[in-house]
Amino acid sequence: MSGCECKSGFFSLRDCDGAPASSCSACGRAVCTRHLSPASGFTECLDCHARAAQQPEGEPGAKGAAPAGEAPLDDEWTYGARHRFYSSGYAPIYAGSRHSTYYDSYDTRSFDETDSGGSEAEEPAAGFGDS
C-alpha cells in the first residue's frame, strides 16, 4: 500500500497521502486513521459511510437495506422498488422523496431535463448556484 487514497483540502483538494492504517471494507481503498469512520467502527472510510447514510432507506447500499434476493413487504422498501421501476423508463411517476409532501410528481416533471429549454443546469449534479 502507498499513501491514504482519500482527498484532503477545502477549496483545493489533494491526495491525503497519510500513512494507511487499514483498507475500507466497502471500497477497498487504503485509508489513514483520519479518514476512517468512527461511526462504522473504523471499518469503512468516511466517504463510504457517509454515502450509505445518504441512500434512501431500502435502496441497495443503504444502512438496513433488504438482503439481496428478498423482497420485504414494508412500505419503505415498496416505495423504493416502485421508484426504481418507474424511473427505469416505464412511466414518469415520481415516488422518490417519501417524506416530502410539499412537491409532488407534477412539480418534479417541470424539471425533467428533456423538458427543459436548455440550461447550465443540465449537468447531472448541479445545484442552484450552478445554474
Partner: protein, 415 residues
C-alpha cells in the same frame, strides 16, 4: 452517527463545492469566515462522483450530498431531507446556521431551534429557475416562491451582495433592518505575462453563459467590429454547457467563428493572465427580471476592476453599484449590439482614456470591493447574532403548523 463532532456553526448551500463557478468562490470566502467566528463548523454542500462525500479538515467538517438524482427538484428535496437528518444530530450544539437557498433554509427554519439564522440571498429561485427550466409550471413556481418567502420571513438576518436585491426584498415587506448588503469582493491581480497563445489585441468575456448574461448581444456587437481585423474576442466559459455550444453556433452563423477563441473551465491561475492582458472586459447583461428586478453582483466585473481592465457593461441598476460610467469603464444600453459595438470601438481608439480607466478600476476595487472588507461586514452580522444564540426558540409553530408542515413542507398560504 453522521457526524464526527458537534458543530457550533453550519453553512449550507445547495451548490457543488468546490467548482469553478462563482457560487463556489463565494462559499470559499464566506464559510471560512463563519467558521473562524465560531471555532469551526459544518459545511453541507452538494457533491458529485468526483468529490469526497465526507471530510474532516481540522475544525471543519464537510458533508457533500452525493446521491445521483437527475431531476433538479428531486435532488433539491433529497438534499434538504438529508440536511434535516444532520440537524437532528447537530442542533443541540449549533449556535448559528447560514444558508444560501430555500432547500437548505426550510429544514433549518421549520424546526424548533435555538440557533440564529442567516439567509444569504444571491439569487431567488423563483426568478432564476424559469430561465433554466422554461416549462416550469406556475403552480410549482408558486410553491418555490412560498418556500423562499418563508425563509425570508423566518430568518433572523438576510445578507445580499446587491442594493438592488435588498430594495426588492424590502419592497416585498421584509424589514430593512434585517437586510444587510455585503458586497462581493475581488483580490487585486498584479500585471501578468501574456498567455503564449493570446492574440495581440482582444476583448474578454468570462463566466457562465446563462441567457441573462447577454453573450448573444456581445457576439452581435463583435460581428459589427469586423473591420478591426486584428481584434479577437476571447470567451472563457465556466462550463461547456448546452448554452455554450449554442453560443459557438451563433458565432459561426455570424461569420465570426474564426475571430473568437473559446476557453473552458480555466482555473483562476490561467484565467488571470487572459484577463489582465485584455484591452477591455465586456459584461453585456440583459435587461431581464433576473438582472433588473432581482439584482446581481457580477464577480466578472469586480475581478476585471481588480485586474485593472476597463469594463464595458450594460447600464443596469446592479451594475451602476459597481461601475461609474466614464470612470472605470462605459455603461451602455442593454440588449443593443450596435450600441455595445460603438462603445467598444470608441474605447479601442482612445488608449489614454483606457489607461486612466484602468487605474481608476484598480483604485475602485481596492477601495470598495475587497474580500477583507466584505468579510468584516459579514462577521459584524454574525457578532450581532451571537447574543441571540441562547435565546428561546425562534420558531414556535402551533399544532396546526406541525400538522401541515413536513420536511420541506412550507405552507403555500405564506406566498
Amino acid at each position: 452517527m453522521l457526524l464526527t463532532r458537534r458543530p457550533r456553526a453550519l453553512y449550507a448551500a445547495f451548490d457543488r463545492f468546490p467548482t469553478r463557478k462563482g457560487a463556489s468562490a463565494h462559499i470559499a470566502r464566506f464559510a471560512p469566515a463563519l467558521f473562524e467566528e465560531f471555532g469551526g463548523g459544518l459545511l453541507y454542500v452538494l457533491g458529485d462522483e468526483r468529490l469526497p462525500v465526507h471530510q474532516v479538515e481540522d475544525d471543519v467538517e464537510i458533508v457533500r450530498f452525493s446521491t445521483p438524482l437527475p431531476n433538479f427538484l428531486e435532488r433539491a428535496v433529497a438534499f434538504g431531507e438529508h440536511l434535516a437528518r444532520l440537524l437532528d444530530e447537530a442542533e443541540d450544539g449549533l449556535e448559528i446556521c447560514h444558508f444560501r437557498d430555500p432547500w437548505s433554509g426550510v429544514p433549518i427554519l421549520e424546526r424548533h431551534h435555538r440557533y440564529a439564522t442567516v439567509f444569504e440571498v444571491n439569487a431567488l429561485p423563483s426568478i432564476e429557475l424559469p430561465y433554466a427550466y422554461p416549462s416550469i409550471a406556475p403552480r410549482t413556481l408558486e410553491k418555490v416562491q412560498a418556500a423562499e418567502r418563508f425563509c425570508l420571513e423566518a430568518a433572523d438576518r438576510i445578507v445580499t451582495p446587491s442594493r438592488t436585491t435588498r430594495d426588492l426584498l424590502v419592497s416585498g415587506g421584509i424589514p430593512a433592518s434585517k437586510v444587510d448588503v455585503v458586497p462581493n469582493g475581488a483580490d487585486p491581480v498584479p500585471p501578468l505575462p501574456r498567455p503564449f497563445e493570446a492574440p495581440d489585441e482582444y476583448l474578454i468575456y468570462f463566466g457562465a453563459l446563462q441567457p441573462w448574461q447577454g453573450v448573444d448581444t456581445l457576439l452581435g456587437a463583435f460581428a459589427r467590429l469586423a473591420d478591426l481585423e486584428t481584434l479577437r474576442l476571447v470567451v472563457c466559459g465556466s462550463g461547456r454547457s448546452r448554452q455554450a455550444r449554442a453560443a459557438e453556433k451563433r458565432a459561426e452563423k455570424l461569420g465570426i467563428a474564426g475571430r473568437v477563441l473559446w476557453r473552458w473551465e480555466l482555473p483562476s491561475s490561467e484565467l488571470e493572465p487572459w484577463l489582465g492582458n485584455a484591452l477591455l472586459s465586456v459584461a453585456p447583461l440583459r435587461a431581464c427580471s433576473r438582472n433588473v428586478e432581482q439584482g446581481c453582483a457580477p464577480l466578472k466585473i469586480l475581478e476585471s476592476l481588480a485586474a485593472g481592465v476597463p469594463v464595458v457593461a450594460s447600464d443596469l441598476p446592479p451594475v451602476r453599484e459597481i461601475v461609474t460610467d466614464g470612470v472605470e469603464g462605459r455603461l451602455v444600453a442593454p440588449d443593443r449590439p450596435a450600441d455595445l459595438a460603438r462603445a467598444i470601438r470608441l474605447l479601442l481608439h482612445l488608449p489614454e482614456h483606457r489607461a486612466r480607466m484602468s487605474a481608476a478600476a484598480r483604485e475602485r476595487a481596492a477601495r470598495d470591493f475587497t474580500w477583507d472588507r466584505s468579510l468584516d461586514l459579514l462577521k459584524g452580522v454574525y457578532r450581532s447574532l451571537r447574543s441571540r444564540a441562547a435565546a428561546p426558540s425562534h420558531t414556535k409553530p402551533n399544532a396546526e403548523d406541525q400538522h401541515v408542515r413536513g420536511s420541506q413542507g412550507v405552507q403555500i398560504a405564506l406566498a
